[in-house]
C-alpha cells in the first residue's frame, strides 16, 4: 500500500479527537504505514458472500423491564469531574 501522508494522519487525529505533537505525528505516520503493510495479505482471502462476525455469541438486543432502580449516588459520580460547579459539570463552550 501507499505510505500514509501527513495529511492522512492529521485527518485521523481530527476524527479521533487526539492532539499530537509534530514528532508524534511523524512517528505515527511511519508506524501505521508499517503495520497496515502487514495487513495487505488479508485481501488475498476469498470472502465473497461470507457473513461478517460481530460477536461469537448469538446475542440479541436485551431489553429490561422499565422499572425504576436505585441510581448511582450523585456525589460519588460528581466527585470525579475535573471541573465542577455544585451539582453541575462545567464544560468549555461548544460553539465559539
Amino acid at each position: 500500500m501507499d505510505p500514509l501522508t501527513p495529511k492522512d494522519v492529521e485527518h485521523i487525529a481530527q476524527l479521533a479527537y487526539i492532539k499530537l505533537t509534530d514528532e508524534e505525528s511523524e512517528n505515527m505516520r511511519v508506524q501505521l504505514t508499517n503495520i497496515l503493510g502487514h495487513f495487505a495479505s488479508l485481501s488475498s482471502v476469498e470472502t465473497d458472500g461470507v457473513e461478517a462476525t460481530g460477536h461469537t455469541t448469538d446475542s440479541n438486543t436485551v431489553m429490561r423491564k422499565d422499572e425504576p432502580q436505585p441510581p448511582l449516588d450523585q456525589e460519588d459520580v460528581l466527585r470525579n469531574a475535573p471541573d465542577r460547579d455544585g451539582e453541575f459539570v462545567r464544560v468549555r463552550p461548544v460553539l465559539e
Binding site: 492532539k19 495479505s41 457473513e51 460477536h55 475535573p82
Partner: protein
Amino acid sequence: MTTQSTNSDFYFSTARDLRAKFDGREMSSVEATKAILDRISSLEPALNTFITVTPERALKDAEIADQRLRGTGQEPTSLTGVPIMLKDNFSTKDVETTAASKILKGYIPPYDGTAVQLLKDAGAVILGKGNLDEFAMGSSSETSAYGPVHNPWDTDRVPGGSSGGASAAVASGECFIAFGSDTGGSIRQPAALCGVVGMKPTYGLVSRFGLLAFGSSLDQIGPLTRSVADCADALNIISSHDPRDSTSVAAPFTDFAQDIDKDISGMNIGVPKEYLVDGIEPGVRAAFEASLKTLEDLGANISETSLPLTDHALAVYYIIAPSEASANLSRYDGVKYGLGSLDNSTSAQATEAARGEGFGDEVKRRIFLGTYALSAGYYDAYYKKAQQVRTLIRREFTDAFLKFDALVTPTTPGVAFKIGDKMDDPFQMYMNDICTIPVNIAGLPSISVPGGMSEGLPVGLQFIGPQFGDTTVIRAAAAYERATNWHQKHPLI
C-alpha cells in the same frame, strides 16, 4: 533475588491448600492477609505488580471472612478469606481505577463491576489493583503510566502482558489468585511468561459489566492461579449470566471443576502445525515436544492438523480490536471524570488536549489504527474484510473440533524478553500474541499451564477447546499438571 524465603511453602501454596488451613484452624484469614501484605511491601520495590494496595480494606475483608469461616452467617465459598488481586481495569467502588492510564489518574468509580461484586459476595479478600499495560493494550506490561512490571524469575525481564501485574503477583506469592482480562492473550501470555495457570473462558461466560472496555467482542475476564483446580474454583465464582451484559450467557454445565479428576485416555488432541511458527525459540519447541510426549503417555491420541487461516489471525485481530477500542475509548473526553483540560477556549480543543496528554503512545497508536480502519473509504477493505475472515477462522475451528476434543499449542513463541527490547517495534510486540489471538477471534475457551523451562525461564502450554468446552480444557490441563512438576517451580524471590 537469591535466597528462598523460609515461608515459601505458605506464599506458594494454592488457594485450596490455604482454605484447608482455614478449615483446620491452622491459620486465620487475617493472619494470611497480614503475611501477604508484608510480602507485598517487601517485593513491590523490585516488581511493581500493584498500582494500588488497599491494606485497611483487605484486613477488614479478612476479619469478616474469618467470622464466616467460623460458621457465623453465610456459608463460606472456595474463596472466602483468600487474598486476591484485581487487574486495575476492573471497576471497583471507592477504590481508584486507572487502567494504568494517566487519563484516569484519580478516578474513583461509583460502582463495582459484576465480577468484583461476585468476588466480594464470595468473601474473597481484595488486596488491591494490579498493574497492566495501559488499557490492557500490550504484551509486556511496559506501557503502564505507572511504570513497568518486572518478572519475578528475572527482574530485568517483562512478565508478559497485559495482565503482567497479575501474573507476576501470582508467581511471586504476592497473592493467591489474581483476576485479569484477555482480549488477545492478556491472561494466557503473561501466565506463560511467569509460570502460572491462566484461563480465558468461552466468550460470554463471565460478565464484562464493569470491565473497562477495550475490544468488546473479544474481552473476557478470567483467573490467574497456581493450580488448575484453583482456576476452576475461581471460575465457578465469577461466571454468571448478567442482565447488565447482553453478551453474557449461562454456562451449559454446573461446575467448571466437574471433570478435573478424569483422565485423558482416549482424548483426541490436535496439534495445529501453523502454531509452530518459524520464529519459535528452540527451547520452547523442545518443551512443547516433551509435553506432547507426556500427553501421549497419559493415553491421549495426539495428531497433527492444519488451520491455514491462522496466518491471517494477527491481521484480523489488529483491525478488529483497535476498531472496537477506538469506539470504546471515545468516552474519555475529560469532562465527567479523569484528566481534564481546563485552559482551552472550546470543548473540542479541551477534549483533543486531554486525550493527547492523557493517552500513552500505544493507546494512541491503536485508536489511530482503529479510527483509520473504520473511516469512510477504508471500512470495507479493513473492518468488514476482517469480520468476514473472522467468520472463516471460526468455521475452521468448528471443523477442527469435529475431529478433536481439544487442540494444544505453545502459549507463546518465546520466553520472557528483556524490558525495553521490543518497545521500538510495535509489530514485533504484536507477534508475541500469535498463538493466543485466534482463540479470542473465535470466542473459544483456552487455558495456559506451566509446560517446561527454557533458559531458566517458564514456558507455557496452551489447550484450546470448542465453544463451551471449558471443562474439557480444564480436564486436559489438570491431567497434564498431575503428570508434571512445572507448576511446583517457583522463582527464588
